[in-house]
Every structure is written in C-alpha cells, then in structure tokens.
C-alpha cells in the first residue's frame, strides 16, 4: 500500500516541488530566531531602503525602517502556527459531527445537517471578521474564528463518506461477525474515510493561512505578532515609494498556499482518492 502511494505521489511534479517549498517554510519558521539578525519589530535602519542595496537588509526595509526579511521569517511562524492549529480544530469538529451524522443517520443526521447548512450559508469571511472584532484580536480568537468558519465542508465530506461506507457490504459482514459499532467505526469505516480527509486537511491549512492573512491585512491580526498579512496591510499607504514591502510578503503567502494546494493534489493522487472525496 505505502510503496504505491510514494510512487504515485512522486509522479506529480507539482506536489514534489510543493513539498520542498513547505520544508523551506517550515525550516524558516523554526529557525527564525537564529537566522534573523534583528527582531522584526525593531527599527534598524532608515525607512524605505530598497532590497539588495544594504548588506544587512536583504529585502529592504519598510515605512518604519523595520527589516522585511526578518518580518518574513517571523511571519512564517505565525502562518504555520495558526494554519495548523485552526485546521486541527476544524477537523476535529467537522469529523466528529460528520461521523455521528453519517453513521447514525435518521433524525440525528437531519438535525446535524441543518446545523451545518446554516453555518455554510453565512458568508465565512464576514463572519470571521465579526467574530475577531467582537472578541478582540488575538491568536486565540483568530484561530477559533477560522475554525468556526472552516468546519462545514469537512463535516459534509465525512458524513458523505460515512453514509456510503456504512452501506458497504464489508461493514454488514463485520456486523455479522459480532463487532461492536465503535469497533466497526474505528477499524472499518474511518481507515477508508481517512484519505479524503487528509487531502481536505491539506487544502484547509492553505485556506486558513489565506484567511488569517486577510484578517491581518484588515488590521484584525494579533497586535503582538508580525504576520505576512499585516506587512502587506502596513505597506498599503506607502505603495508608491516601497513596492517591495507589499510584494515580498504576498509572494510568501502565495508560494506557501500554492505549495499546500499542490501537495494536497499530490496526496489525492497518491492515496487514490478524489479531491472532493469520492473514490476513483
């Protein structure tokens, strides 16, 4: 099983490239304190130093004289942290709800699905803005807001998987063998439902990073954290003078999100499942 996965994954060049970029981002995030010579908030130089002109400032400085390169590295930490935590929360919530709805069916399913549909109907981004604004911007509120907005598609996917897997004959055979419901869910249904969940998880980290950066751009980021979105937002007023302050962080976001999406597609190929969760 595993060798087949690696073989299929390797064939997707985009996915392989994506893995490299993600490793780079991850290492940058972990090693930030050692790689950067300056704290990203420190005013180290004159404002608006163009990239490549100063030995110490690879990517130039921003409107307040802060080092853009340091900002990028520390920003990677924020993105990785928030992306992973928010996705984990959304997955826990979505998988839990979806599994219960899909396995038990009946009125439980109907009730939970109405609930999910409701959340899905609310415009996600606007809701996230409102949530973070009301509960004051901080890492906790941002992570919770993103999780609350992202879980419905997971729940629907998991419910769909459980509904179809429940009807499969090997589940009926397991019931005849006398296995309890819990054991059937964990040994038969979940392992077959995991591949599309993994693929979706990868895509969700991508959308979480996009969402977090958009929130930071609007000024709703945690005021103590230098995030990529914040950098782009801060660069808005001085766009004409210092294009690099806006371009580099945005580029970082784009490359990270792109890599995550490509890796997600590679996982879908490797695990032999489709992006929307249906079996090939």
């Amino acid at each position: 099983m595993n060798s087949g996965f690696l073989r299929r994954f390797r064939r997707n060049y985009g996915a392989v490239a994506g893995v490299f970029v993600l490793l780079l981002v991850g290492c940058g995030a972990l090693a930030a304190p050692w790689l950067c010579s300056h704290d990203p908030w420190a005013l180290v130089q004159l404002p608006f130093v163009p990239p490549g002109t100063h030995a110490d400032l690879l990517l130039g400085s921003d409107a307040l004289g802060r080092d853009v390169a340091s900002g990028l590295l520390y920003g990677a930490r924020v993105s990785v942290l928030i992306g992973l935590v928010a996705t984990t929360m959304a997955l826990l919530l979505g998988v839990g709800l979806g599994a219960v709805a899909g396995y038990y069916g009946g009125w439980v399913d109907t009730l939970l699905m109405r609930f999910t549909e409701l959340f899905q109907a609310i415009p996600g981004f606007a809701f996230a803005i409102v949530l973070v604004a009301i509960f004051q911007p901080s890492v906790q509120s941002i992570v919770c807001a993103i999780a609350l907005v992202s879980w419905p598609p997971v729940a629907r996917l998991v419910r769909g998987e459980f509904l179809s897997l429940r009807e499969r004959e090997f589940v009926a055979a397991a019931q005849l063998s006398g296995l309890s419901s819990i054991r059937i869910i964990f040994t038969h249904i979940l392992p077959n439902a995991v591949p599309p969940i993994v693929v979706m998880g990868s895509m969700m980290v991508a959308s979480s990073i996009l969402l977090e950066s958009a929130l930071s751009f609007l000024g709703l980021g945690d005021p103590e954290l230098m995030s990529w979105g914040y950098m782009v937002g801060a660069a808005r007023t001085a766009l004409r003078q210092a294009w690099w302050v806006a371009v580099f962080p945005g580029l970082a976001i784009m490359l990270t999100v792109l890599s995550l999406n490509l890796v997600g597609e590679g996982l879908a190929d490797g695990l032999n499942t489709r992006i929307d969760g249906r079996m090939r």
Binding site: F170, A172, A173, L176, S177
Partner: protein, 541 residues
C-alpha cells in the same frame, strides 16, 4: 450469394502499454449476412465488446486502435475510413445499442429529441415529417403512448423502456446492420425476453443483420443463426449456432457450455425434516422522502412473509429485481430490523435487530454477499477478515490463525492467502474467501444473496460446487437468493418465488419448475433463455 453485410478479416486491436495483454483482439475473422444473427460469446476480458466498438469506430484512439486486419462493411473497409465518412455511416447504415439503459440516455434531453437528433444529423426533414417519424419509431419498438413518451425525460422510463428507446434511436433510419453490445444483461429475465422478441421481430421485418454480443449461451440458443466463441481476444470456435451448441469442438466452448446451470432439480435430499427456521408474517416497509406536509414514498419490500426451513434443507428464494428477495435475506440475518412478524430459530425467537441479539445467537445466521469486490475491506488482509469474527468472540489468536488456515484449505485456497489483500484475488477467489469468513463463525444457517451473479459463467459453476461441498461438510441449512431459476433448481430442495414483496408460490423445486401454478411463475420460467437441447424443454411436456 450476396456480399456479406459485415466481414471482419484478421482484425487485431491493441491495448495501451502496461495492460495485462498486448492485443485486446487478435486476428479475428467474422462474417455476417443480411437477415442473419451472429452472436459473439465470451466472458469478461474476451475482447468481444472491443470488436463492436471497432466496427463502429468508437475505440479510444490512439492508445486503443486497430493494428491489423480489415472490417468490410458492404465492401468498404471501415478501418481505412476517415472520421467524417465514418460519422456518415453511424446511425444511418450501422446502428448500435449498449448495455446499460439507465445511463445511456442523456438525462437532460427529451426522449423524442434524442431520436430526432439522429434524423437531423443525416437528413434534412420538414418538421411535420420529422415528428411523424419519431412517433413511428417509438411505436415500432412497442412503446405505448408514443406521443407522451416523446415528450418525456428518460428518468420517467423503466430500464426496459429506455432500452426500447435506444433501439428506436438505432433503427430510425433503417440501417442494414445493428450491433447490440450485451443489451439485455442489465435487465430482468422477463424484460430480457421481451427485448429479445422485439429484436427478432424487427430483424425479420426490416431484414437487417444483427451482431449480438453476449456472455449468455441461453440467449445464443434462442436467437443466433451463427455463433463465434471468444477467449482472450481470439475466436476459438465459430459456425452455425445449432451445430456449435450440439457438438462443441473446442475445450473452452465445451467448458462454457457445461458450466451453464442445467436447471435440473436436485435428486439428493439431505433435509432432516426437523424445522430449524420458522418465519411468520414478516413485514418491512421502506419510507423515503417525505417532509413537513408531504407523505413520502413507501415501498412494501416484504409483505406477510411466512415459510419454514428444515434443518439441512436448502431453500431457494427466486425473484426479479424489486421483488424483495434481498430484503428478506437481510431481515433474516438481522441487518435490517423488521416492522412486524416473528422469526424463530430452533424454537427460540430472534430479535429483529442484530445488535439486540446476544453474542451467541449472532453467529447462527451468516451471509455471503453478491458483490465480491465490495464485501471485503480492501485494507484488511484476508486472514484478518476471516478471523475477525472468532477473535471478537474471544477465540485466542493462535487458535484463530489455525482456523483461518484450515478454512482457506477447505475453500480451495492456499494458506499463504491469509497474508495477502483482497485486490490480489479474482472475483471467484474473493467469493471463496467470503464463504470462509462466513464459515468461521460456525453458523447453522447460511444465507447466500446472489453469490454468483457478479461472476463469469465458468467461475460460477465452481463456486456453486463449493457451496454444495461446504453444505455437506458443515451440515448447513441454506437460504439461496437468486434471480436465476436454473441455479435455484440446481442448488435447492425447495423454491419460493417472490414478486413485489410476497411469496406467490412455493414448493419442492421439481414441482415449481415443472408444474407451476401461478401465472407469474409460468412467465418467469418461459422467459428464462432455454438451453437444454438434449433435454425436453422446461416446463416439460
């Protein structure tokens, strides 16, 4: 002697690199005259459908394409023809009908328009005449109220009706050749008989040639003038149908013919007469849809079902799709809860739902399912699948391991199969594994739900033989669910015929087959493609 309508000479079709063999079709010769029916028979993977697609030019070129030979249609070589000329022939001179009626019509287009577009593609007709021809085509294929059907969308029609529409599309321009690729395989026995009769009548009236692809020798016996038997891309035997059926020369043909269920009732009767299973007044209704103010749809899948099964006996439940036979199987095993009624096993009542039955009782009734590809978890090894039940009952792992090995031997597989995964096995082998899994629970009653329907003919006979053997060795009672009367007659002591949720007739197998009382039973028997050329036809005279 006129030029044959279709002549295939030395045709070879290649497959994409990396396929299990290089050539799907290897040096095939066929010949078909006007007014004649040629049946190409073979199992799955024989290449028979490829020939049909090659004639129509529907192969997935360039990966799958003819690499040698000629296909002469009225003297013209179709392989050498370019796409535009081929298009002119399709629908006008050569018509084709496919296997799956439920998915072969555009769901968003009205039936009449789907026939009309054939006319539009090849002719330019004034509106009135075009509509008249559409209605006439629908009437020709025996559809009632053709004006209404022409305005309807496909979802309103049954499988048999959709197949008739497909035939209407294929024949509206009166082609000289009709290719039918397993057109009745997905249909019920009675519907199949109607479609075959329709095709025969249309052929006689229009004098067209019919190339009929099938895997069922019974169909061959009914309609074929000539037959060609294919195996692994080659024609192993061909000739006049009557001769080939009466005296097959090639070992493969002989194997195929002997593998067909003969439908002769069993002679042995291992029944002890002691009642094991007593079913009284079983009811199950499925409700779907429905909302706040609207009633949903109701399907009475089981109506007041009552029967008795003696220890050691095999009862066959025979019915077409929608008769409720599968529901009955699941009600007996407890996978579905009954609405009302009683099930007594060895004198004790069985709870409606599997979950409510005490652990000891759950093993008593086990099931073998229809689809060998869906009944085994693809991520568990074969050994784990078989041992799952005993281990859940508390059997220690070592003992379970020995049980697995012994069961694998009994069903004809090597012990090393225990460490392999289901996808490494063929359909027939997987059914053997499924039987081993059911046996691991030491049941007293085995319910088999269409266990051989999804298998090739040659493999079917082997698995049925395995059921017989297992039944004797383990002293099992059986409920054998099938749509095929011949299989039921061969395997079972008694037969119960189901129709729309009710048991309309039951009795000893021989009696039901040779002296049926109910009209529906008689229709079922008459519709089954008959095959016994050396035997008196069933129902016997």
């Amino acid at each position: 002697m006129s030029v044959p309508v279709l002549q295939v000479q030395g045709l070879s079709v290649c497959l994409p690199p990396g396929s299990e063999r290089e050539l799907a079709v290897d040096g095939v010769d066929l010949s078909l005259n006007a007014g004649e029916t040629l049946c190409v028979v073979g199992e799955s993977g024989s290449g028979k459908s490829m020939i049909a697609n090659a004639v129509m030019g529907l192969l997935a070129k360039p990966k799958v394409a003819p690499v040698a030979g000629r296909i002469l249609f009225e003297g013209k070589d179709l392989v050498a023809l370019d796409e535009a000329d081929m298009r002119a022939l399709r629908g006008e001179r050569i018509g084709m009908v496919f296997q799956e009626p439920m998915t072969s019509l555009n769901p968003l287009m009205r039936v009449g328009d789907q026939i009309g577009e054939v006319l539009d593609a090849h002719r330019s007709l004034p509106a009135a005449e075009r509509n008249a021809r559409i209605i006439a085509a629908l009437r020709d294929v025996g559809l009632p109220d053709p004006e209404l059907i022409a305005q309807a969308y496909p979802f309103r029609l049954s499988g048999g009706q959709r197949q008739r529409v497909m035939i209407a599309c294929a024949l509206v321009l009166e082609p000289t050749l009709l290719i039918a690729d397993e057109p009745t395989t997905a249909l019920d026995v009675t519907t199949q008989a109607q479609i075959l009769a329709l095709l025969g009548e249309l052929q006689r009236r229009k004098g067209m040639a019919l190339l009929f692809i099938t895997h069922d020798f019974g169909v061959v016996a009914e309609i074929a003038d000539r037959v060609a038997v294919m195996q692994w891309g080659r024609v192993v035997e061909s000739g006049m149908a009557q001769e080939v059926l009466r005296a097959p020369k090639h070992p493969y043909t002989r194997a195929l013919i002997t593998a067909i269920p003969h439908g002769r009732p069993r002679r042995n009767d291992e029944s002890t007469g002691v009642p094991l299973l007593v079913v009284r007044g079983l009811n199950k209704t499925y409700r779907s849809g429905g909302g706040f103010l609207r009633p949903g749809r109701q399907v009475h899948a089981a109506r007041e079902l009552s029967f008795t099964l003696a220890r050691g006996e095999a009862l066959g439940i025979v019915g077409e799709s929608g008769s409720g036979k599968s529901t009955l199987g699941r009600l007996l095993t407890g996978l579905i809860a009954r609405d009302s009624g009683q099930v007594l096993f060895d004198g004790h009542a069985l709870a409606p739902e599997l979950r409510r039955r005490p652990a000891a009782k759950r093993a008593l009734v086990q099931m073998v399912f229809q689809d060998p590809y869906a009944s085994l978890n693809p991520r568990h090894t074969v050994g784990a699948a078989i041992a799952a039940g005993p281990v859940a009952q508390g059997v220690p792992r070592e003992e379970a391991r020995e049980l697995v090995v012994s069961l694998l031997r009994r069903v004809g597989l090597k012990p090393d199969a225990a460490d392999r995964f289901p996808h490494e096995f063929s359909g027939g082998q997987r059914q053997r594994i499924a039987i081993a899994r059911a046996l691991a629970m030491r049941p007293q009653l085995l319910v088999a739900d269409e266990p051989v329907s999804a298998l090739d003919v040659s493999v079917q006979a082997q698995v049925l033989a395995l059921f017989e053997q297992v039944r004797r060795e383990f002293a099992l009672s059986m409920v054998f669910i099938t749509h095929d009367l011949r299989v039921a007659a061969q395997m079972c002591d008694r037969i119960a015929v189901m129709h729309r949720g009710e048991i309309i007739e039951s009795g000893m197998a021989a009696d039901v087959l040779q002296r049926p009382c109910q009209d529906y039973t008689k229709a079922l028997i008459a519709a089954a493609p008959r095959f016994d050329l050396n035997q008196p036809q069933v129902p016997g005279q």
